[in-house]
Symmetry: C2
Subunit: 129 residues, 2 copies
Amino acid sequence: MRAQNAALTQVEQSFKDAGFPPLTWYDVLWELERGDRAGMRPFELESHLLVPQYGLSRLLDRVEKAGYVERRPCDGDGRGQVVVITKLGRQLRRRMWQVYAPALNSAVADRLTAKETATLSRLLGKLLP
Amino acid sequence: MRAQNAALTQVEQSFKDAGFPPLTWYDVLWELERGDRAGMRPFELESHLLVPQYGLSRLLDRVEKAGYVERRPCDGDGRGQVVVITKLGRQLRRRMWQVYAPALNSAVADRLTAKETATLSRLLGKLLP
DNA sequence: TATATCTACATGCAATTGCATTTAGTGGAA
DNA sequence: TTCCACTAAATGCAATTGCATGTAGATATA
C-alpha cells in the first residue's frame, strides 16, 4: 500500500505540475492508441483498466468533453458504442508520456536493478486475480 | 497498480460482506490501539497513514460519530487534540481483524512462499519516499 | 512585548466515486 | 413471433475526496 501510494503520488504530482489531466486519462488514451483497430468498445476498455463500469462511463464523458476521444454508435450492436481517440488525444498522450516516463523512472525504475524489477514484476503477478 | 488493486479490492469486499466499515477505519483504530500511550495527535496519526490532513480530519469525524474514537482537547497545545480509541473501537478493531486476517492471507500470503514475501517486501521498500 | 510566521486542524465548495437502478438493445427458447 | 434472461452503457443520489482557504493557537523575531 505504501509503495503504491508513493509511486502513484509522484506520478500524479508530476502530471499536475505539468498541467496535465490525471493518470486515468493517460490509461484510456494509451489503450485506445495501442490497440488501434479503429476504436474500442467501453466494456473492452474497462477490462484493461482498473475502473468500474460506471466509472469508465463518466471518465469517458470528461475525456470526450475535452475533445480527446469520440464516442460513435456501434455498427453491429445498437446498445453499444465505439470509442475512438482523436488527433488531439494522440497529441496529449504523447505529451503526457514526456512527463510520465521520467516520473516512472524516478519513482520506480531508478530505484531497482533490472533483475529486481523483473523479480518484483513476477511476484506482483502472483497477486493478480 | 493491478496487484494492489486486486488485493485491496478483495480486502475491502470482505469487509463489506461482513458489514464492516472500510479499511481506513481499521487503520486508524489499529494505530491508536497499538501505540496506546493514551491517544495520539491527528498529525501524528496522519504520518502513519496514507491519508492527507483534511482526509484524516473528516475520517475522524465519521469514526468519532460512530463512537469508535473520542477527540479530547490537548493539554500542552490549545490548537490540537488527542484522539483516543473507545472500548467500542477496540471491539470493532478486533472483530474486523477476524475478517481482515483471512482476507489478507487469501489475497497475499497464500499466494507467496515465505521467501517470496520477504523479497517482495524488501523490493517494495525500495519504492518508499 | 508587539508582530510576523508557522503549525494544527477544520471547512466551503466543486469534482469524483460508489451504489443501485434505469434504459436500451440482444439473443435464445418456447 | 413473443417472451425472458442477459449484456452494454448511463444516471440519480448520497458519500467521499481534493483543493484552497479559514481559524486559532504557538513560536520566533526584532
